[in-house]
């Protein structure tokens, strides 16, 4: 039963170290998986608490357990020192816990205000009090800087704005603890900065935050203490952020030291593989660039800069109004995805769950979805043994874990799902790989593995166009960098010692830098 807690109206002093939320000895099992095993987590009042771990370490499961969505097999939960048992999400809200889930939880066809009060409507008699909702929403939205978006349907907002609406919702509920499960994974640099500022601001007002992310730099920027999970268990005790280095955290997460965050490659850059000139559509204009054999072209920009559309247009799945495409020097037209694939251009979409995988199908199906025809035997039938064998081989090369071809894609962790997507394109024998946000939501260790795969590809003579909103990644991996701003190309720079972060960011916000 839910234990009533005293309403404390005065804000708690930051730094006072009374435990707010205690999760003791939590064990949670799913069929075939122990997602959490005797995990302890203590969030104290007024702190920003980092919860880190590899993909599949059990972070989201922990959150859902806190919120009462998952019913744990073992363990107990204490709120301000008193044991509580949550049956519905409303119990959590009642206590003062708000959550921003990893998968955005809003309903696009409904309005902003309505989304904010979904499941928690303000009522006048039996009816919804739209006026009151609007009034309160306005206050909360102003706090996150979205005061002017009251009447807009959710689907018209950008990803960052949607994220902020979720925070406004938490703020409006007077939450004492806001849990954020990877809120920054689909945000742009500036949106992330905004969000982090907002977190600090909220924290100053006495709100505790439990923050999950794979981006250690931002984590270190705002976090006070850190708890690391590994394989569903606590990996060491909770530590003060000031006391640990990034590498130490990584070691706790991965169980070993990572050699290098951005592994080096030694590739001889060759002749031009792909070039486009003057690409135009409704979302971008006048885009021209080329990429050479063995070269990695980074494409940077803020979210909404039109990079995705540009790449889709090259891949033949977004209408192009004008522009020419040259593949290995020959002019060509790309009419459809199939056409692009046949010409050696492939696109790893930014949204692997919705656009990269058939989640209900297994790895063999997903891995060979593009190249089904290559596995025909002499009767024209697909040779499933051959398919499985190849998928196993590639899976091994890509270090896919677990290496079980019959397992469904939905049962893999984010990083391993990304590897499956990469596998399907590797099999197609493409020459030009477009990676759209390849490491979104992927943990540090898996990131390095993906970078290694990319380097391997380059060494084998492929070209890569990598779209990313993460500046470090762009700087760490690219040979050259193209920057886009509001559908326009604001510059292409060689990534050498002379380039710094500021320069790229200036370009990404519309400022000009001398082209080289």
């Amino acid at each position: 039963m839910l234990q009533k807690t005293q309403e404390t109206t005065e804000s708690v002093e930051p730094g006072s170290n009374a435990p707010l939320l205690e999760m003791r000895d939590i064990t949670k099992m799913f069929p075939g998986v122990v997602a959490l095993s005797h995990v302890n987590l203590v969030v104290r009042q007024g702190e920003i608490h980092l919860l880190l771990g590899e993909n599949g370490a059990g972070k989201s499961t922990m959150i859902k357990t806190i919120m009462g969505i998952n019913k744990p097999e073992g363990g107990e939960m204490l709120w301000m020192g008193k044991p509580v048992k949550l049956n519905t999400i409303h119990d959590a809200y009642q206590l003062g816990i708000a959550v921003i889930y990893q998968e955005l939880s809003n309903i696009p066809c409904l309005g902003v205000v309505e989304n904010m009060y979904l499941g928690n409507e303000k009522k006048k008699g039996p009816f919804i009090d739209w006026k009151e909702q609007k009034r309160c929403a306005k206050i909360a939205l102003e706090r996150v800087g979205l005061g002017n978006l009251l009447d807009v349907p959710m689907e018209n907002l950008g990803m960052g704005q949607r994220q902020l609406v979720e925070i406004a919702r938490a703020v409006d509920r007077n939450a004492k603890l806001i849990i954020m499960d990877e809120p920054t994974s689909s945000l742009s640099r500036s949106e992330i900065d905004n969000l982090l500022d907002l977190m600090l601001e909220l924290n100053r007002q006495g709100i505790s935050i439990l923050f999950i992310t794979h981006k250690l730099d931002e984590a270190k920027k705002v976090g006070h203490v850190v708890t690391v999970l590994k394989d569903g268990k606590n990996s060491g005790p909770t530590l003060n952020v000031e006391d640990v280095s990034e590498d130490q955290i990584i070691k706790l997460m991965v169980g070993r030291e990572l050699d290098e965050k951005y592994p080096r490659r030694s590739v001889q850059i060759g002749e031009e593989m792909f070039r486009c000139e003057n690409l135009c559509s409704d979302k971008f204009d006048n885009i021209s660039f080329h990429v050479r054999k063995g070269e990695l072209l980074g494409v940077f920009g803020l979210v909404g800069a039109g990079r995705t559309e540009t790449m889709r247009a090259i891949f033949g799945t977004y209408p192009l109004v004008e522009g020419d495409i040259f593949i290995e020097g020959r002019k060509g037209k790309v009419k459809s995805a199939r056409d692009a694939i046949d010409k050696g251009i492939v696109l790893l979409t930014e949204n692997r769950k919705e656009e990269g995988l058939v989640l209900i199908h297994n790895i063999v199906e997903n891995g060979t979805i593009v190249t089904m025809n290559q596995f025909k035997n002499k009767f024209g039938l697909i040779d499933n043994k051959k398919r499985t064998a190849i998928v196993k081989k590639y899976g091994k090369d890509l270090n896919l874990r677990p290496l079980q071809p019959e397992k469904r894609a939905m049962d893999f962790s984010g990083g391993n799902q990304q590897k499956v997507v990469i596998m399907k394109w590797l099999l197609s024998g493409a020459k030009v790989f477009i990676f759209d946000e390849p490491t979104k939501g992927v943990d540090v260790a898996a990131k390095v593995e993906i970078y290694n795969i990319m380097n391997n590809l380059l060494e084998q003579g492929a070209s890569i166009i990598m779209v990313s909103s993460e500046i470090q990644e762009i700087l760490g991996m690219s040979d050259r960098i193209m920057v886009m701003y509001e559908g326009l190309e604001t510059g292409i720079v060689n990534n050498d010692e002379t380039v710094d972060q500021e320069q790229i960011l200036t370009l990404a916000t519309g400022g000009k830098v001398n082209e080289r």
Partner: protein, 344 residues
């Protein structure tokens, strides 16, 4: 100044909501030119009266479709509940109002069964569960009536289904059927329910994204179950109208009625995938089907041709909606981009 802008915007948005209204108007214009009897007051009232039963069923169906479900059992839910009502009122001679109440209650219960099969027994899709209950309800209706119609309904039922506002047919009110007024009132109530009540908004949320709705603390099972209970209740209402209109409850009355209801809802612009749709659209959809059938009768169209016409109108009406909503968005975007370009 600003107010008038908002008004204009509202009208525009309402009109853009009203794709089915467009189809309805087109059909009416065509019929007005083809048959001089179509545009008479008595015929128009005729049409509205004929729309009433489907009008009630479609509302229930709409709520289910809004939650991304469907209720194929709606026709025989109607039948079974009206048969139960008739047994109480006629065979057992109970108080008419009490019998009516029992009828409405049975409808809701039958809906509840559908809802529970879905949410508690976790049957994968309401298409299946309601296909099953459709047969079961039909069978029960046949068994308890012995396949014989029950005639001689109490006055209140006949009043709801067959009478006019005034008993003098020469006056204006004497031409307005009670059933249509009841239907209108129900539509207004539903509009309020769907737009201003928590449950109503939750119906949209659940249809828009069930997982998200659940994570937002909405009791998804409750909302979904309620949708089927509402559907059952509306079916029972439709049953009362039909029973009054034909002065009998008969065990095959529900046959294929779900098709008309689904057609009306979808023609009315409700998304088959849930989360989107409005009462006005369904209303137009219901009228469209009713006008169509009326027109076919007035023009004395051949029976086989009627079937073809109905099929064609379903497809055309939905197609108009597709075009209006930019289902060809990709094409349009392309055209727009090209024209922008050539202007620049």
């Amino acid at each position: 100044m600003k107010d008038s802008m908002i008004l204009l915007k509202n009208i525009k948005s309402n009109f853009s909501k009203g794709g089915p209204i467009l189809a309805l108007i087109l059909l009416c214009i065509f019929l007005a030119f083809s048959n001089e009897n179509f545009l008479t007051v008595s015929n128009l009232m005729n049409v509205t009266r004929q729309a009433a039963v489907n009008g009630f069923l479609s509302l229930g169906m709409m709520v289910c479709i809004l939650t991304a479900g469907i209720d194929l059992s709606i026709g025989f839910t109607m039948t079974l509940s009206s048969v139960i009502m008739a047994i109480c009122a006629v065979n057992l001679g109970w108080n008419p109002f009490f019998s009516l109440l029992i009828g409405l209650l049975s409808g809701s219960m039958l809906g509840l069964v559908n809802g529970l099969l879905l949410t508690k027994c976790k049957l994968p899709h309401p298409f299946i569960s309601t296909m099953g209950t459709q047969n079961i309800y039909k069978g029960i209706a046949l068994v308890i009536t012995g396949a014989t119609p029950i005639a001689g309904m109490p006055y209140v039922v006949k009043w709801a289904g067959a009478s006019f506002l005034s008993s003098d047919p020469t006056t204006f009110f004497g031409k307005i059927p009670v059933s249509f007024i009841l239907m209108l009132i129900t539509y207004v109530l539903f509009s309020i329910f769907l737009n201003y009540s928590t449950l109503g908004r939750h119906v949209y949320a659940v249809g828009g994204n069930m997982t998200t709705a659940g994570l937002s603390g909405i009791n998804v099972d409750f909302v979904r179950t309620s949708a089927y209970v509402i559907s059952g209740f509306m079916a029972a209402c439709g049953g009362i109208i039909l029973t009054g209109r034909t002065d009998s409850a008969y065990p095959l009355s529900g046959l294929l009625l779900e098709n008309d209801a689904i057609a009306a809802v979808v023609i009315g612009g409700t998304s088959f995938f849930g989360g989107k749709g409005n009462v006005l659209g369904t209303f137009s959809g219901v009228l469209l089907i009713s006008v169509l059938r009326n027109g076919l009768n007035l023009l004395n169209v051949n029976a086989d041709m009627q079937t073809i016409a109905i099929g064609a109108v379903i497809i055309i009406a939905v197609f108009i909606d597709v075009i209006r909503n930019g289902g060809f968005a990709k094409v349009k975007r392309h055209i727009k981009a090209v024209s922008d370009k050539s202007l620049a």
